[in-house]
Subunit: 144 residues, 2 copies
C-alpha cells in the first residue's frame, strides 16, 4: 500500500516586527543559513539575499534551497511586516520554527497557514507518519 | 480608510506530468524567466535553477525573485510530480498562469490552493481591488 502526501508548507505573515531586524540583510541570510540544520533539513546551496533600497530600508528578500524545496523570507521594514515560507518534503518542528522566527525578527503578532502539499503524492509509511506528527505539531503551535 | 491584504499566493501541485519536461532544467529556467513578464510582474534577478542527478533525473528546483515576492518550481520526474508557487504582492491572472504551467509541463491533473497572504497588511484601494479581482479569477480558473 502506498501512503500519500508530499510535505508541509508553513506560511507565516508577521506584523509589528522590529524594522531594524527587517532591514538587516545579514540577519536574513543568517536565519536562512541556520534554519535548515535546526529543522533537520538538508541545505543544497547557500542562501541568496537581495536588499531593496539603501541599507535594506525598502526590504530584504532571501531564499534558501533545501533538498528539493525552499525557505523564503520577504521583509517590509516600513510596514513592519514580513512573509515567511517553509516548504519541505518532510515534516519538521513547526512550533520551533515559529518560535525562532518570532524571536529573531521580534514579531508582534502573526498569522500562519499550513498546507499539506501534494495530497496524492505517494510516500513511504515513515514519511507519512512524520507528516501526521507535523500536522499535530502545527496545531499545537497554533494553540500554544 | 486603509484597505488590507498583502497579496495572493497561488500553489499548484501537479501529477502525471511529462517526465522529460520535469527533467529539463533549461525549460524550468525559461518558464521562470518568462512568467513574471507574462503575469505583469517585475523580475528582480535572473532565475536560478538547480538540477538533481545527471540530466536532472532526480528533479529540478528553480526560483525567481519578482519585486519582493517569488515564483518557485520543484520537479520530481520519477514521480511525474511538480510543485509550483507563485507568490506576489499584487493580483495576477491566475487562470492564465495555471493554463500555461499545465501546458508547458504537460500536467495530467493538479491540485491548487490560493491563500490571500498578510490579511491585515494595509493596502491602497486600487491594489485591494486587484486582489478581489484576483480571487475571482482564481475561482473562475478552478471552475473553468
Amino acid at each position: 500500500m502506498e501512503l500519500f502526501g508530499f510535505g508541509p508548507h508553513l506560511m507565516l505573515d508577521g506584523y509589528d516586527a522590529n524594522p531594524e531586524k527587517l532591514r538587516d540583510a545579514e540577519l536574513v541570510r543568517r536565519v536562512l543559513d541556520e534554519l535548515p540544520e535546526e529543522m533537520e533539513m538538508t541545505k543544497v546551496l547557500p542562501p541568496f539575499v537581495y536588499s531593496y533600497g539603501p541599507g535594506g530600508e525598502d526590504g530584504v528578500t532571501g531564499v534558501v534551497i533545501i533538498a528539493e524545496s525552499h525557505i523564503a523570507i520577504h521583509t517590509f521594514p516600513k510596514k513592519r511586516f514580513l512573509s515567511i515560507d517553509i516548504f519541505s518534503c518532510k515534516a519538521f518542528d513547526m512550533s520551533k520554527a515559529l518560535k525562532k522566527l518570532a524571536e529573531v525578527f521580534e514579531i508582534g503578532r502573526y498569522e500562519t497557514y499550513m498546507i499539506q502539499r501534494g495530497k496524492e503524492f505517494p510516500k513511504d509509511p515513515e514519511l507519512a507518519r512524520q507528516i501526521v506528527l507535523g500536522e499535530r505539531e502545527y496545531l499545537e503551535a497554533r494553540v500554544g
